[in-house]
């Protein structure tokens, strides 16, 4: 959808909002599902809303609820959120050159709202025209508000659901993550690190307590990802291959 800034809905904020609007359909479903699963793990609607409001990162929230225990393992949850969201480091690095001219508050605030969807649209925009804070926040704020609203609704109504395994909901996390993984797949570049992660995780699941298998699998994948990357210097490239 092409939106002309000078049109009847002129202004960069409206242009950003119109761009992100079709994606809100996915946010509704994804958010309701997350809220339902959070409620099943015993999180209250207020706690679910708080997590959506101050974490605002779908994949890591699903992971957190999946490994949620009562009482929660604070260090493990923080460390897992850090690992799941490491892609933000690369996303922020890609976005940084286009934030020139933004005030410090706009940059630090804008980075808080950086999610896959609005990041992709922001980069797409900046290829054609300078990225204004108005356009960026026009993308980000509807996504943010929609995510909080739908996850909270899911938590309110999901708490009433009895015996989630009857509907296969105990498999829902796995299905969501498999869907995310299908989108992240980059062929051979993904195969080795993900294979190492799967092997380490299955082994860790057998021999380690709790959910430490996730950290083990993540570390194995990072190590293989690093080793599978050829070094830039020509004389070392032969060794790395």
């Amino acid at each position: 959808m092409a939106v002309r800034p000078g049109g009847p809905l002129g202004g960069d904020f409206s242009a950003g909002t119109l761009r992100i609007l079709p994606l809100l359909v996915a946010v509704v479903v994804y958010g309701l599902l997350f809220g339902t699963l959070a409620a099943q793990k015993g999180l209250s609607p207020l706690e679910t809303a708080l997590m959506s409001a101050i974490v605002f990162a779908g994949a890591s929230q699903f992971v957190a609820v999946e490994i949620w225990t009562s009482p929660p393992a604070v260090v493990l949850l923080g460390a897992t959120a850090l690992m799941v969201n490491l892609r933000h480091v690369l996303m922020g690095a890609a976005l940084a050159p286009f934030l020139k001219g933004w005030s410090r508050g706009q940059v630090y605030g804008g980075l808080f709202f950086m999610a896959d969807e609005n990041w992709a649209f922001a980069l797409q925009r900046s290829a054609k025209t300078p990225l204004t804070p108005g356009y960026y926040f026009g993308l980000a704020l509807p996504l943010y508000a929609g995510w909080i609203a739908c996850t909270t609704l899911g938590a309110i109504f999901g708490g009433f659901l009895q015996d989630p395994a009857r509907y296969g909901l105990d498999f829902a996390f796995t299905a969501v993550f498999l869907t995310l993984l299908t989108g992240l797949w980059k062929g051979r570049r993904s195969f080795l690190p993900w294979g190492a992660a799967a092997l380490a995780a299955v082994a860790g699941h057998l021999f380690l307590p709790g959910v430490w298998y996730i950290a083990l699998g993540g570390l194995a994948g990072a190590l293989v990802g690093a080793l599978a990357t050829p070094l830039p210097k020509p004389q070392e490239q032969a060794d790395a291959a």
Binding site: S44, L46, P71, V89, L90, W194, V202, G221, A228
Partner: protein, 100 residues
Amino acid sequence: MQLDPLVFTAIAAMAVATYATRFFGYWLVRRTTVSGRLAGALEAVPGAVLTAIIAPMAFATGVAESGAALLTVLLASRLSLIPAVAGGCLAVVGLRLLLG
């Protein structure tokens, strides 16, 4: 409506960790360039973590779960999130019934 102090602490820890990842790339690129093996490691981590989470369920729980996982991937590669997740959940219910 309740807010447990330890739950609040856990959510706050997640929030701090997540904001750190959002800020760090911007901070880093203004000082140095992320490349080579560090970039390779960072790029591999999200997929590796997601794989690690699903691996015991997808590969080491049972035939029903592995079959449903395979079907979910097939659906996800052709359709969107909603039919893929719904199909996966239905498949696991059906396969568990069939396989006892």
